[in-house]
């Protein structure tokens, strides 16, 4: 099954192998980051990576995954700010457990557009030293 974490794991495996080869060393860990809208589940990504890395120089590499917040840009004042999409809005008198309204950190407007999600970045690799 080619779940989407597997596709990400394949790109990562290639990038980590390239970088490690430049330094002629075996990689043992890698720090990566990506925007939250990638919808990456850490457990699934690590599982997929472990599976496809078997028998390659990346076997045993531990992944450290950072999820960058989603950002929006205010349509009124152009301020960019962090958007929490999933925060529940607990006004149970109204309509149950609905969503909080993301607001511009500068002018308070709720009219914003989502900025492109943070890219997948290979931040750092750890190499084995003898």
């Amino acid at each position: 099954m080619l779940m989407h974490e597997t596709m990400v794991a394949q790109s990562l495996l290639a990038a980590i192998s390239d970088e490690a080869a430049k330094h002629n060393a075996k990689p043992i860990g890698a720090k990566i980051s990506c925007g939250k809208l990638w919808a990456i589940n850490d457990e699934a990504l690590c599982f997929a990576f472990e599976a496809i890395a078997r028998g390659t120089p990346c076997e045993g590499v531990k992944l450290d995954i950072e999820h960058k917040p989603i950002r929006g840009q205010c349509k009124k004042c152009a301020q960019s700010f962090e958007v929490e999409l999933g925060a529940p809005f607990c006004d149970t008198s109204q309509n149950g457990n609905s969503l909080a309204r993301p607001e511009c950190s500068k002018c308070g407007s709720d009219d914003f557009e989502l900025l492109p999600d943070g890219p997948l970045i290979l931040e750092e690799i750890e190499l084995q030293t003898d």
Binding site: A39, F89, N95, P102, L114, L122, L127
Partner: protein, 219 residues
């Protein structure tokens, strides 16, 4: 142990193909919309009705994504519109490379609008850009009114929300607070266009068609 700073953006294969698709669709001046929903929300029925009722105004082609079978492409072809079926064989979303290949199989020059019907799934397809002009999220009333709160990403990213199967509301068989859905979707995405429709009875479809025709015109 030695740490090396890399800081390199990994341009996934998907992004490369998505960019090619954007260029191709811009050059051809064809509008392309990516429809995303849970399985069974009525995407194919919305498409067959839309194609039939707009056939004198615009020509529509469809790229169908399913894990298995070409049942949906056959339903589209029954309307005489061209359709290409992609079977993902287990993958939970369509990729931009699959769209690039499918675009080559469609008579793009003869079309005004290309719909992509993504694999039924509210999570994964929202993370994969295909090069489309916009996403259309479909929510049927039987799925419940808590979906924007539970799956915010797709509602935040879509241009249009189609609330489908509203014919089920009149009999009271389904508890679905349509106002809650509208409020939640607009909290995530103030500009989202929301149309309440029944692809079965045709109720509310006229406003959706107006939006489509205007969008085709503007591309």
């Amino acid at each position: 142990m030695k740490k090396i700073n890399v800081g390199k953006k990994i341009l996934s294969e998907n992004e490369k193909y998505a960019f090619e698709n954007i260029l191709f669709l811009a050059e051809q001046k064809k509008l392309c919309l990516n429809m995303i929903s849970s399985p069974g929300s009525g995407k194919t029925t919305i498409l067959t009705r839309t194609i039939s009722e707009l056939k004198d105004k615009i020509k529509i082609g469809v790229i169908e994504g399913d894990i298995q079978t070409d049942i949906d492409a056959e339903r589209i072809r029954a309307t005489e519109a061209p359709a290409v079926q992609i079977n993902t064989n287990g993958a939970c979303h369509l990729s931009a490379a699959q769209i690039s290949a499918a675009l080559k199989k469609l008579p793009v020059k003869d079309l005004n609008l290309i719909f992509i019907e993504n694999v039924g799934n509210l999570v994964c397809p929202s993370a994969f850009e295909l090069g489309e002009d916009g996403k259309i999220v479909v929510l049927s009333v039987a799925e419940g009114d808590d979906k924007p709160a539970k799956y915010p990403a797709i509602f935040a990213k879509s241009k249009v929300l189609l609330v489908n199967k509203i014919d089920l509301l009149s009999g009271g068989q389904v508890d679905f607070d349509i106002e809650r859905v509208k409020v939640d979707a607009r909290r995530l995405n103030k500009g989202i266009e929301i149309f309440s429709i029944s692809a079965k009875t045709g109720e509310g479809m006229a406003d959706w068609y107006d939006w489509l025709l205007k969008s085709v015109e503007e591309k």
